[in-house]
Symmetry: C2
Subunit: 353 residues, 2 copies
């Protein structure tokens, strides 16, 4: 209803001065500013962001593209991003986009191409170079959180190191038959989060001198009574559950420890083990990664990370890229991997001899 012209008239100044007074840009006498502010408050004036962005080209709005909203890690990241953005006075428009497909193309070519967002944060989605370049061309900063190859700022934990660390934890406990439940497609997409974790597992296995048995396929591994075994499944609780049922139901010497690619998978493993009458950790040690809030309840040993903090950090970088605030320093410690921490709980122990 009320436009800035009304405010100006009421305050007895021009539109230009009213705009300057309210936005804080330019010189305005202190009592003039007060008059304008009073007038604005009196008629309940609220600036139209559309009009403002039309002329300034900035929308105070960032797009977030995210493949899942219902998996713990992603949900936490999203919440972290949302809070930080809100605090900075920004809106967040959500694009729930998974793998390639017409929906995804539409999002990138139509929705993100318009001038609605100032920047985009892509979490856990492998952008094609065309998609990344498209944003670049339009001058929209891009920040990535995990997943995919370079192009734009990139925030990530060192998933390969995490995979190695988790595996080493089991090896140090004395396990020699440790299996890895990888995320679906880990072998095919080595650069992905789960691909990296799988590689870290293989690193650790090889370093322990158990590597040769692993080289073969999972089936071959089982058949030869291998020290190590790889299986893939959805990175969810049911995914871990069914993969674990399969793994533990195999003939031959059973794995005594499992490194699951995510905590949610690990929960599924624990449940599957118990269903089969195995006791965790007596008969089977289990470690995951994420630091899921259910970890406590399941007594799960894990490599924890802080998705919420990661989301906030991504917003920090975005705002910095947009020249927001007084962030003098360019980028804090760009490239350095995000922190992780081994949290030992009840689900891992030395194997029975």
């Amino acid at each position: 209803m009320a436009a800035i012209g009304d405010v100006a008239r009421l305050a007895g100044v021009s539109k230009a001065t009213a705009s300057r007074a309210l936005s804080g840009r330019g010189h305005v006498a202190v009592d003039t500013r007060r008059r304008v502010e009073a007038a604005a408050a009196e008629i309940g004036y609220i600036a139209s962001p559309d009009a403002a962005s039309l002329v300034t080209g900035r929308t105070k709005n960032v797009g977030v593209v995210i493949p899942f909203v219902n998996r713990w890690f992603f949900g936490e990241v999203l919440e972290g991003i949302e809070r930080a953005l809100l605090a900075a006075g920004y809106d967040l428009t959500l694009y729930n986009v998974g793998d390639t497909g017409p929906v995804r193309d539409r999002v990138f070519e139509f929705f993100l191409a318009r001038k609605r967002v100032d920047a985009v944060i892509a979490v856990g989605v492998d952008l094609t170079s065309r998609e990344a370049e498209g944003l670049e061309q339009r001058g929209k900063p891009l920040v990535r959180l995990g997943g995919g190859e370079p192009g734009g700022a990139r925030l990530s934990i060192d998933d390969r190191a995490v995979g190695a660390l988790a595996t080493e934890h089991l090896l140090h406990l004395g396990h020699t038959r440790v299996a890895h439940l990888a995320g679906a497609g880990a072998a095919a997409a080595p650069w992905s989060v789960h691909g990296q974790r799988r590689l870290g597992y293989l690193d650790a296995i090889a370093a322990a001198g158990l590597g040769d048995a692993v080289a073969g396929s999972a089936a071959a591994g089982a058949a030869s009574g291998a020290a190590a075994t790889l299986l893939e499944g959805e990175m969810t609780m049911p995914g871990g559950y069914t993969a674990a049922l399969q793994l533990l139901g195999r003939p031959g010497p059973r794995a005594t420890a499992v490194f699951a690619a995510s905590d949610e998978m690990a929960f599924g493993v624990i449940r599957a083990a118990e269903r089969l009458g195995l006791s965790v950790p007596r008969d089977l040690s289990v470690i995951g990664v994420d630091g899921h809030e259910y970890g406590e309840m399941f007594g799960l040993t894990t490599i924890s990370q802080s998705p919420g903090d990661q989301g906030r950090l991504a917003v920090d970088v975005v705002l910095r890229l947009l020249g927001e605030g007084e962030h003098a320093d360019p980028l804090p410690d760009s490239g350095a991997p995000l922190p992780t921490r081994l949290v030992v709980r009840a689900s891992t122990t030395a194997p029975e001899r």
Copy 2:
């Protein structure tokens, strides 16, 4: 970069005609339209939504306020909303807002007050009348999904009936000591989702003639060897877990069946039971509500609903309220509760005699 004036010039028409040709409003000769479209495609023209909404007052954007993103029901709803909105060419800006507080006020008084959204969908959040009226005054349609009292269109399952149905399922199996794990604050907020489910439970218990024992507090109930018991906890897996540990660890005759206010709580109950050496369903029957995707894996009997469909439906109503599309009929069956379905799995059975 490219503005509509450029398109018009290239096509040899006026801005007005170009606008009409591209937006489809008004009369344009068919070959003129083709020329304009070709020109637009040639220079990669993309309309500025800001300019358009400045003059039309519509933003093609709806706000979604939601208290959680990481609980299954809410995540599913959000995904459903997102897909439907995207398909209709709308953006979705997310406001992750929980209970009252400064953040919430800021969202309603600043973010939603601006002209950025055409409508808002509130899922599972109890709007104050001030908040609802504020939106009303600004002419923004409001659609609610679950939770809270009237004001604006309201979509919901019949939570009270669901609570009764779940309880009756247990009673019909022959259980006489059935406990209810309600959501935190259920007793204090009887209009809320979990408040209604609790009331449904009490209805069924009373109807079965087991009511008198329930009237007292939970503690009193336990002490008197009551037929029914009420406990509250967070509507999450750990929430159900700790509440169940407490419930099942009590002295006196143990409940033989538990109705958990949500599937996530029910999973926690199952795990707690097994941790205590109880077998489900032999020693304890468990029923939840939601239709969680993990239900299969846990073999959980539940009253299922379709949060994704509910999200899509909410979008439908919103678009209709915005006069979008050719939705001739006003509102389909407004007021009718959304569908639910009893899904019987392995977690419920008759009590041992």
